[in-house]
Symmetry: C2
Subunit: 207 residues, 2 copies
DNA sequence: CATAGCACCGACCGGTCAGTCGGTCGGTTG
DNA sequence: CAACCGACCGACTGACCGGTCGGTGCTATG
Protein backbone atom coordinates (compact mmCIF):
# COMPACT_ATOMS: atom_id res chain seq x y z
CA UNK A 1 0.00 0.00 0.00
CA UNK A 2 1.16 3.54 -0.71
CA UNK A 3 0.41 4.46 2.85
CA UNK A 4 2.87 1.92 4.18
CA UNK A 5 5.59 3.01 1.82
CA UNK A 6 5.15 6.55 3.05
CA UNK A 7 5.28 5.32 6.61
CA UNK A 8 8.51 3.47 6.00
CA UNK A 9 10.04 6.43 4.24
CA UNK A 10 8.93 8.70 7.02
CA UNK A 11 10.36 6.40 9.63
CA UNK A 12 13.68 6.19 7.88
CA UNK A 13 13.83 9.94 7.42
CA UNK A 14 12.83 10.49 11.00
CA UNK A 15 15.66 8.29 12.20
CA UNK A 16 18.16 10.08 9.98
CA UNK A 17 16.88 13.41 11.30
CA UNK A 18 17.19 12.16 14.88
CA UNK A 19 20.78 11.14 14.25
CA UNK A 20 21.58 14.53 12.73
CA UNK A 21 19.97 16.32 15.64
CA UNK A 22 21.96 14.28 18.15
CA UNK A 23 25.16 14.87 16.20
CA UNK A 24 24.49 18.61 16.18
CA UNK A 25 24.15 18.86 19.92
CA UNK A 26 27.24 16.76 20.55
CA UNK A 27 29.44 18.45 17.96
CA UNK A 28 28.52 21.88 19.28
CA UNK A 29 29.66 21.01 22.77
CA UNK A 30 32.68 18.85 21.93
CA UNK A 31 35.54 18.55 19.48
CA UNK A 32 35.01 16.57 16.29
CA UNK A 33 37.52 13.93 17.35
CA UNK A 34 36.14 13.68 20.87
CA UNK A 35 32.60 12.96 19.76
CA UNK A 36 32.43 9.27 18.97
CA UNK A 37 29.95 7.57 16.69
CA UNK A 38 28.87 5.51 19.67
CA UNK A 39 27.94 8.65 21.56
CA UNK A 40 25.95 9.97 18.63
CA UNK A 41 24.19 6.66 18.14
CA UNK A 42 23.34 6.40 21.82
CA UNK A 43 22.03 9.96 21.93
CA UNK A 44 19.91 9.29 18.84
CA UNK A 45 18.63 6.05 20.37
CA UNK A 46 19.97 3.82 17.61
CA UNK A 47 22.94 1.51 17.50
CA UNK A 48 26.12 2.21 15.58
CA UNK A 49 24.98 -0.21 12.92
CA UNK A 50 21.83 1.83 12.50
CA UNK A 51 23.84 5.00 12.21
CA UNK A 52 26.00 3.51 9.49
CA UNK A 53 22.90 2.32 7.73
CA UNK A 54 22.01 5.97 7.15
CA UNK A 55 25.43 7.58 6.80
CA UNK A 56 28.47 6.24 5.03
CA UNK A 57 31.01 7.66 7.45
CA UNK A 58 31.44 9.98 10.37
CA UNK A 59 32.71 12.71 8.08
CA UNK A 60 29.75 12.37 5.78
CA UNK A 61 27.41 12.58 8.74
CA UNK A 62 29.10 15.79 9.79
CA UNK A 63 28.84 17.25 6.30
CA UNK A 64 25.18 16.22 6.02
CA UNK A 65 24.49 17.87 9.34
CA UNK A 66 26.11 21.11 8.16
CA UNK A 67 24.38 21.12 4.80
CA UNK A 68 20.94 20.59 6.27
CA UNK A 69 21.57 23.38 8.74
CA UNK A 70 22.83 25.82 6.13
CA UNK A 71 19.88 25.04 3.92
CA UNK A 72 17.55 25.90 6.77
CA UNK A 73 19.32 29.18 7.39
CA UNK A 74 19.35 30.23 3.77
CA UNK A 75 15.74 31.35 4.05
CA UNK A 76 16.60 33.95 6.65
CA UNK A 77 19.54 35.21 4.68
CA UNK A 78 17.78 35.45 1.35
CA UNK A 79 14.93 37.37 2.90
CA UNK A 80 17.31 40.12 3.96
CA UNK A 81 19.22 40.14 0.71
CA UNK A 82 16.03 40.52 -1.29
CA UNK A 83 14.64 43.30 0.89
CA UNK A 84 14.44 46.90 -0.29
CA UNK A 85 16.04 49.51 1.93
CA UNK A 86 19.31 50.97 3.09
CA UNK A 87 22.40 48.89 3.59
CA UNK A 88 22.12 49.39 7.31
CA UNK A 89 18.50 48.32 7.43
CA UNK A 90 19.19 45.19 5.46
CA UNK A 91 22.20 44.25 7.55
CA UNK A 92 20.08 44.85 10.63
CA UNK A 93 17.38 42.51 9.35
CA UNK A 94 19.93 39.86 8.48
CA UNK A 95 21.67 40.14 11.82
CA UNK A 96 18.44 40.16 13.78
CA UNK A 97 17.43 36.97 12.06
CA UNK A 98 20.74 35.48 13.06
CA UNK A 99 20.57 36.75 16.63
CA UNK A 100 17.13 35.34 17.19
CA UNK A 101 18.26 31.83 16.38
CA UNK A 102 18.76 29.47 19.32
CA UNK A 103 22.30 29.34 20.71
CA UNK A 104 23.00 25.97 19.15
CA UNK A 105 22.08 27.20 15.68
CA UNK A 106 24.43 30.14 15.98
CA UNK A 107 27.23 27.99 17.31
CA UNK A 108 27.13 25.84 14.20
CA UNK A 109 28.41 28.75 12.16
CA UNK A 110 31.56 28.70 14.24
CA UNK A 111 31.91 24.93 14.12
CA UNK A 112 32.90 24.95 10.49
CA UNK A 113 35.83 27.17 11.19
CA UNK A 114 36.79 25.14 14.22
CA UNK A 115 36.67 21.74 12.57
CA UNK A 116 37.56 22.55 8.99
CA UNK A 117 41.15 21.42 9.44
CA UNK A 118 40.01 17.96 10.41
CA UNK A 119 38.72 17.09 6.98
CA UNK A 120 40.56 16.02 3.90
CA UNK A 121 40.19 17.40 0.39
CA UNK A 122 36.76 16.32 -0.68
CA UNK A 123 34.62 16.91 2.38
CA UNK A 124 36.60 20.01 3.11
CA UNK A 125 35.75 21.57 -0.23
CA UNK A 126 32.10 20.65 0.15
CA UNK A 127 31.94 22.38 3.50
CA UNK A 128 33.82 25.47 2.48
CA UNK A 129 31.72 25.97 -0.63
CA UNK A 130 28.43 25.50 1.19
CA UNK A 131 29.48 27.72 4.04
CA UNK A 132 30.82 30.46 1.79
CA UNK A 133 27.58 30.69 -0.11
CA UNK A 134 25.34 30.57 2.93
CA UNK A 135 26.25 33.66 4.91
CA UNK A 136 29.32 35.55 3.70
CA UNK A 137 28.04 35.92 0.17
CA UNK A 138 24.73 37.31 1.35
CA UNK A 139 26.52 39.87 3.48
CA UNK A 140 28.88 40.65 0.63
CA UNK A 141 25.92 41.29 -1.67
CA UNK A 142 24.41 43.78 0.74
CA UNK A 143 27.76 45.44 1.38
CA UNK A 144 28.43 45.76 -2.34
CA UNK A 145 25.10 47.53 -2.77
CA UNK A 146 26.06 49.79 0.11
CA UNK A 147 29.32 50.73 -1.53
CA UNK A 148 27.64 51.34 -4.86
CA UNK A 149 24.97 53.64 -3.48
CA UNK A 150 27.50 55.62 -1.47
CA UNK A 151 26.36 54.47 1.94
CA UNK A 152 29.68 52.74 2.59
CA UNK A 153 33.13 54.00 1.80
CA UNK A 154 34.72 52.39 -1.26
CA UNK A 155 36.75 49.29 -0.54
CA UNK A 156 36.94 45.54 -0.86
CA UNK A 157 33.45 44.17 -0.23
CA UNK A 158 34.74 40.81 0.92
CA UNK A 159 36.99 42.25 3.58
CA UNK A 160 34.20 44.48 4.79
CA UNK A 161 31.71 41.65 5.01
CA UNK A 162 34.09 39.42 6.88
CA UNK A 163 34.78 42.28 9.25
CA UNK A 164 31.08 42.66 9.84
CA UNK A 165 30.63 38.96 10.47
CA UNK A 166 33.56 38.91 12.85
CA UNK A 167 32.15 41.86 14.76
CA UNK A 168 28.79 40.15 15.08
CA UNK A 169 30.36 36.97 16.38
CA UNK A 170 32.64 38.70 18.84
CA UNK A 171 30.11 41.11 20.22
CA UNK A 172 27.53 38.37 20.55
CA UNK A 173 29.94 36.04 22.30
CA UNK A 174 30.98 38.72 24.75
CA UNK A 175 27.39 39.71 25.42
CA UNK A 176 26.67 36.07 26.11
CA UNK A 177 29.39 35.98 28.74
CA UNK A 178 27.89 38.88 30.66
CA UNK A 179 24.18 38.93 31.03
CA UNK A 180 23.21 42.48 30.17
CA UNK A 181 21.85 43.59 26.83
CA UNK A 182 18.79 42.76 24.82
CA UNK A 183 18.85 41.53 21.25
CA UNK A 184 18.12 45.03 19.98
CA UNK A 185 20.86 46.44 22.18
CA UNK A 186 23.45 44.12 20.80
CA UNK A 187 22.25 44.71 17.29
CA UNK A 188 22.59 48.49 17.52
CA UNK A 189 25.96 48.08 19.17
CA UNK A 190 27.32 46.00 16.33
CA UNK A 191 25.84 48.23 13.63
CA UNK A 192 27.16 51.39 15.26
CA UNK A 193 30.61 49.86 15.59
CA UNK A 194 30.62 48.75 11.99
CA UNK A 195 29.26 51.94 10.43
CA UNK A 196 30.56 54.63 12.77
CA UNK A 197 33.56 53.07 14.44
CA UNK A 198 34.71 53.24 18.02
CA UNK A 199 36.07 56.78 18.08
CA UNK A 200 34.30 59.36 20.22
CA UNK A 201 32.01 61.64 18.21
CA UNK A 202 32.18 65.41 18.78
CA UNK A 203 28.37 65.41 19.01
CA UNK A 204 27.95 67.98 21.76
CA UNK A 205 31.11 69.92 20.99
CA UNK A 206 32.48 69.12 24.44
CA UNK A 207 36.12 69.23 23.43
CA UNK B 1 84.99 20.39 32.65
CA UNK B 2 82.45 23.20 32.89
CA UNK B 3 82.46 23.35 29.13
CA UNK B 4 81.12 19.82 28.81
CA UNK B 5 78.31 20.40 31.27
CA UNK B 6 77.29 23.41 29.25
CA UNK B 7 77.48 21.34 26.12
CA UNK B 8 75.23 18.70 27.57
CA UNK B 9 72.74 21.27 28.82
CA UNK B 10 72.85 22.99 25.49
CA UNK B 11 72.30 19.72 23.71
CA UNK B 12 69.31 18.82 25.85
CA UNK B 13 67.84 22.27 25.48
CA UNK B 14 68.47 22.20 21.78
CA UNK B 15 66.60 18.92 21.45
CA UNK B 16 63.68 20.24 23.47
CA UNK B 17 63.65 23.37 21.33
CA UNK B 18 63.73 21.25 18.19
CA UNK B 19 60.76 19.25 19.43
CA UNK B 20 58.81 22.40 20.23
CA UNK B 21 59.62 23.85 16.83
CA UNK B 22 58.47 20.70 15.09
CA UNK B 23 55.30 20.62 17.18
CA UNK B 24 54.57 24.25 16.29
CA UNK B 25 54.73 23.66 12.58
CA UNK B 26 52.61 20.55 12.76
CA UNK B 27 50.00 21.96 15.13
CA UNK B 28 49.61 25.05 12.98
CA UNK B 29 48.78 23.00 9.91
CA UNK B 30 46.76 20.20 11.54
CA UNK B 31 44.25 19.54 14.26
CA UNK B 32 45.50 18.74 17.75
CA UNK B 33 44.11 15.22 17.60
CA UNK B 34 45.43 14.58 14.11
CA UNK B 35 49.01 15.45 14.97
CA UNK B 36 50.50 12.37 16.60
CA UNK B 37 53.46 12.24 18.93
CA UNK B 38 55.12 9.98 16.39
CA UNK B 39 54.84 12.66 13.73
CA UNK B 40 56.28 15.29 16.03
CA UNK B 41 59.13 13.02 17.07
CA UNK B 42 59.92 12.15 13.48
CA UNK B 43 59.86 15.79 12.40
CA UNK B 44 62.13 16.70 15.30
CA UNK B 45 64.46 13.82 14.43
CA UNK B 46 64.09 12.05 17.76
CA UNK B 47 62.16 8.96 18.74
CA UNK B 48 59.01 9.00 20.79
CA UNK B 49 61.03 7.90 23.79
CA UNK B 50 63.21 10.92 23.36
CA UNK B 51 60.19 13.16 23.13
CA UNK B 52 58.77 11.77 26.35
CA UNK B 53 62.13 12.22 28.00
CA UNK B 54 61.62 15.97 27.63
CA UNK B 55 57.86 16.32 27.98
CA UNK B 56 55.53 14.50 30.32
CA UNK B 57 52.62 14.26 27.91
CA UNK B 58 51.32 15.47 24.59
CA UNK B 59 49.16 18.06 26.32
CA UNK B 60 52.07 19.37 28.34
CA UNK B 61 54.14 19.63 25.19
CA UNK B 62 51.38 21.68 23.61
CA UNK B 63 51.14 23.94 26.64
CA UNK B 64 54.92 24.36 26.79
CA UNK B 65 54.94 25.28 23.14
CA UNK B 66 52.26 27.92 23.70
CA UNK B 67 53.86 29.35 26.81
CA UNK B 68 57.25 29.74 25.19
CA UNK B 69 55.63 31.46 22.24
CA UNK B 70 53.54 33.81 24.32
CA UNK B 71 56.55 34.69 26.43
CA UNK B 72 58.42 35.64 23.28
CA UNK B 73 55.54 37.82 22.13
CA UNK B 74 55.09 39.57 25.44
CA UNK B 75 58.02 41.88 24.69
CA UNK B 76 56.26 43.31 21.65
CA UNK B 77 53.02 43.80 23.48
CA UNK B 78 54.47 45.40 26.59
CA UNK B 79 56.43 47.83 24.49
CA UNK B 80 53.23 49.20 23.01
CA UNK B 81 51.37 49.27 26.29
CA UNK B 82 54.13 51.20 27.99
CA UNK B 83 54.47 53.73 25.18
CA UNK B 84 53.28 57.31 25.50
CA UNK B 85 50.93 58.59 22.85
CA UNK B 86 47.41 58.49 21.57
CA UNK B 87 45.32 55.38 21.71
CA UNK B 88 45.51 55.07 17.95
CA UNK B 89 49.28 55.38 17.88
CA UNK B 90 49.70 52.75 20.55
CA UNK B 91 47.30 50.34 18.88
CA UNK B 92 49.17 50.94 15.64
CA UNK B 93 52.48 50.07 17.25
CA UNK B 94 51.03 46.96 18.83
CA UNK B 95 49.42 45.83 15.61
CA UNK B 96 52.47 46.57 13.52
CA UNK B 97 54.52 44.38 15.82
CA UNK B 98 51.98 41.65 15.37
CA UNK B 99 51.78 42.04 11.61
CA UNK B 100 55.49 41.83 11.16
CA UNK B 101 55.66 38.41 12.76
CA UNK B 102 56.05 35.40 10.46
CA UNK B 103 52.81 33.72 9.39
CA UNK B 104 53.34 30.77 11.69
CA UNK B 105 53.74 33.02 14.72
CA UNK B 106 50.49 34.80 13.98
CA UNK B 107 48.66 31.55 13.40
CA UNK B 108 49.54 30.38 16.89
CA UNK B 109 47.30 33.06 18.33
CA UNK B 110 44.39 31.41 16.61
CA UNK B 111 45.43 27.92 17.63
CA UNK B 112 44.50 28.50 21.24
CA UNK B 113 40.96 29.32 20.32
CA UNK B 114 40.78 26.39 17.92
CA UNK B 115 42.14 23.78 20.32
CA UNK B 116 41.04 25.08 23.67
CA UNK B 117 38.08 22.71 23.79
CA UNK B 118 40.39 19.72 23.55
CA UNK B 119 41.92 20.21 26.95
CA UNK B 120 40.61 19.34 30.35
CA UNK B 121 40.48 21.55 33.42
CA UNK B 122 44.09 22.03 34.38
CA UNK B 123 45.84 22.57 31.08
CA UNK B 124 42.88 24.50 29.83
CA UNK B 125 43.11 27.03 32.63
CA UNK B 126 46.83 27.39 32.13
CA UNK B 127 46.34 28.17 28.47
CA UNK B 128 43.46 30.56 28.94
CA UNK B 129 45.25 32.52 31.62
CA UNK B 130 48.47 32.80 29.66
CA UNK B 131 46.65 33.75 26.49
CA UNK B 132 44.40 36.30 28.16
CA UNK B 133 47.31 38.12 29.67
CA UNK B 134 49.41 38.03 26.52
CA UNK B 135 47.34 39.95 24.03
CA UNK B 136 43.77 40.82 24.99
CA UNK B 137 44.68 42.45 28.26
CA UNK B 138 47.27 44.62 26.59
CA UNK B 139 44.72 45.77 24.07
CA UNK B 140 42.15 46.30 26.78
CA UNK B 141 44.59 48.48 28.72
CA UNK B 142 45.17 50.70 25.72
CA UNK B 143 41.47 50.84 24.91
CA UNK B 144 40.60 51.75 28.48
CA UNK B 145 43.06 54.63 28.33
CA UNK B 146 41.44 55.70 25.07
CA UNK B 147 38.00 55.74 26.63
CA UNK B 148 39.22 57.67 29.63
CA UNK B 149 40.95 60.39 27.63
CA UNK B 150 37.94 60.82 25.36
CA UNK B 151 39.52 59.38 22.25
CA UNK B 152 37.09 56.50 22.18
CA UNK B 153 33.37 56.58 22.84
CA UNK B 154 32.37 55.26 26.26
CA UNK B 155 31.62 51.58 26.36
CA UNK B 156 32.76 48.18 27.52
CA UNK B 157 36.53 48.04 27.05
CA UNK B 158 36.55 44.28 26.78
CA UNK B 159 34.04 44.17 23.96
CA UNK B 160 35.91 46.91 22.15
CA UNK B 161 39.27 45.19 22.47
CA UNK B 162 37.89 41.88 21.29
CA UNK B 163 36.33 43.68 18.36
CA UNK B 164 39.67 45.20 17.51
CA UNK B 165 41.44 41.86 17.72
CA UNK B 166 38.81 40.22 15.57
CA UNK B 167 39.15 42.95 12.97
CA UNK B 168 42.90 42.53 12.88
CA UNK B 169 42.64 38.79 12.43
CA UNK B 170 39.98 38.97 9.74
CA UNK B 171 41.55 41.73 7.72
CA UNK B 172 44.94 40.09 7.92
CA UNK B 173 43.61 36.71 6.89
CA UNK B 174 41.75 38.18 3.93
CA UNK B 175 44.76 40.19 2.86
CA UNK B 176 46.75 37.01 2.99
CA UNK B 177 44.32 35.36 0.57
CA UNK B 178 44.74 38.06 -2.01
CA UNK B 179 48.19 39.37 -2.60
CA UNK B 180 47.78 43.11 -2.62
CA UNK B 181 48.50 45.39 0.27
CA UNK B 182 51.60 46.24 2.25
CA UNK B 183 51.87 45.91 6.01
CA UNK B 184 51.26 49.63 6.42
CA UNK B 185 48.29 49.45 4.09
CA UNK B 186 46.63 46.73 6.12
CA UNK B 187 47.43 48.49 9.34
CA UNK B 188 45.77 51.74 8.28
CA UNK B 189 42.84 49.79 6.93
CA UNK B 190 42.22 48.07 10.25
CA UNK B 191 42.69 51.22 12.29
CA UNK B 192 40.39 53.26 10.07
CA UNK B 193 37.74 50.57 10.26
CA UNK B 194 37.99 50.36 14.01
CA UNK B 195 38.05 54.10 14.72
CA UNK B 196 35.95 55.54 11.92
CA UNK B 197 33.78 52.67 10.78
CA UNK B 198 32.85 51.59 7.29
CA UNK B 199 30.32 54.32 6.48
CA UNK B 200 31.19 56.78 3.72
CA UNK B 201 32.47 60.11 5.02
CA UNK B 202 31.16 63.36 3.53
CA UNK B 203 34.77 64.57 3.29
CA UNK B 204 34.69 66.37 -0.03
CA UNK B 205 31.04 67.26 0.02
CA UNK B 206 30.52 65.33 -3.22
CA UNK B 207 26.94 64.41 -2.48
C1' DC C 1 90.06 1.40 33.46
C1' DA C 2 85.87 1.65 36.44
C1' DT C 3 81.83 3.84 37.70
C1' DA C 4 78.06 6.85 37.25
C1' DG C 5 74.69 9.64 35.04
C1' DC C 6 72.12 11.42 31.37
C1' DA C 7 70.18 11.78 26.59
C1' DC C 8 68.06 8.92 23.78
C1' DC C 9 66.27 4.55 21.59
C1' DG C 10 62.53 1.49 19.90
C1' DA C 11 59.77 -2.44 20.84
C1' DC C 12 55.80 -2.95 23.22
C1' DC C 13 51.19 -2.37 25.80
C1' DG C 14 46.50 -1.01 26.87
C1' DG C 15 42.86 1.29 25.32
C1' DT C 16 39.94 3.53 21.98
C1' DC C 17 37.29 4.08 17.97
C1' DA C 18 35.65 4.04 13.05
C1' DG C 19 33.79 0.89 10.42
C1' DT C 20 31.93 -4.21 9.34
C1' DC C 21 28.96 -8.04 8.97
C1' DG C 22 25.95 -11.75 9.85
C1' DG C 23 21.68 -11.78 11.67
C1' DT C 24 16.71 -10.36 13.51
C1' DC C 25 12.23 -8.49 12.91
C1' DG C 26 8.17 -6.30 11.18
C1' DG C 27 5.81 -5.21 7.22
C1' DT C 28 4.73 -5.92 2.09
C1' DT C 29 3.87 -8.42 -2.10
C1' DG C 30 2.42 -12.28 -5.07
C1' DC D 1 1.67 -18.73 3.39
C1' DA D 2 6.09 -18.04 1.31
C1' DA D 3 9.44 -15.16 -0.42
C1' DC D 4 11.31 -10.87 0.17
C1' DC D 5 12.98 -6.29 1.64
C1' DG D 6 14.71 -2.69 4.18
C1' DA D 7 15.48 -0.80 8.85
C1' DC D 8 18.04 -1.81 12.52
C1' DC D 9 20.99 -4.55 15.83
C1' DG D 10 25.34 -5.44 18.40
C1' DA D 11 29.38 -8.11 18.78
C1' DC D 12 33.56 -7.90 16.61
C1' DT D 13 37.96 -6.29 14.19
C1' DG D 14 41.89 -3.94 12.70
C1' DA D 15 44.35 0.09 12.94
C1' DC D 16 46.12 3.61 15.42
C1' DC D 17 47.95 6.25 19.21
C1' DG D 18 49.49 7.94 23.79
C1' DG D 19 52.45 6.46 26.95
C1' DT D 20 56.06 2.97 29.13
C1' DC D 21 60.25 0.64 30.08
C1' DG D 22 64.39 -1.91 29.80
C1' DG D 23 68.30 -1.04 27.48
C1' DT D 24 72.44 1.43 24.89
C1' DG D 25 76.11 4.47 24.16
C1' DC D 26 78.44 8.69 25.11
C1' DT D 27 80.69 11.73 28.34
C1' DA D 28 82.69 13.02 32.60
C1' DT D 29 85.01 12.21 36.76
C1' DG D 30 88.39 9.52 40.02
Amino acid sequence: MAQSVTDTQTRSEATAARIIAAARTLFVSGNYADVTTDMIAKAADVTKGGLYHHFASKEQLYVSMMLSDLEAKRLIFEQATAMEGSCRERLALLTRGFLELPDEDRELTRLVRRDINTFSGDERDQLVRAYQSALPEQVAAIVTDGINNGELAPGDARILSWSFIALVEVVIARYADHVFGSTEGRLDHVLDLFFEGAAAKPTGGTE
